[in-house]
Amino acid sequence: MDQWGKRVYNFARRYANDDHFANEVVQQTFIQAFEKLDQLKDPTKLQSGLYRIASNNCISQGRRLARRRQLEENGLIHTPDPANPSQVVERKELRDMVLKVLQMIPPEQRQVIIMKEYEGLKFREIAGILEASENTIKARMYYGLDAKRKIMIQNKLNKDLYYE
């Protein structure tokens, strides 16, 4: 299970680029997986089952955070400053830049890119996990990559993408 914990963590971490978010998703995912243990006993369904639960949790956790952010912006709640005020978002490293831009892509497209590019799943497997047709998954991949490419070019984040 430790192996699956890491995979779910990495998936959620890449989805939101946030450790706390990822830990919350892992916790929620395993609580829900435990409740569905009967359905996940079949090893062939474990991977798709866990990813499906994790995907749903990423979306719901993302919504919760967005609502919280909205409340903070409206001054309705206040979050204390982090203990370390010098903490800043990591930048410059290629990996961080790629992850950052990933956060700007719609969730449905982001999930597909992470599953394909980071988790190494096949389009057929992703289609099974997300309960969509393979063509739908490929279309999401296309639109996700297209959005990412345009964001990087617009923000001049990667000179190598220029050819002319």
């Binding site: 389009f123 490929k138 296309y142 490419r149 990667n158 190598d160 050819y163």
Partner: protein
Amino acid sequence: MNKERIVDYLYGDLDDQARALFEQELIDNPSLSKECRETLKLLSRFSAR
């Protein structure tokens, strides 16, 4: 252009005949060709992580 077909090309999932046809389209369509080159470059960024 069929989006799924572009993805199949990018991931090397087209058979020989389909790939040859697609590559002819790339020659005929410079903007599609540019888009594919840029996207392949972007995909290489993932593997560079």
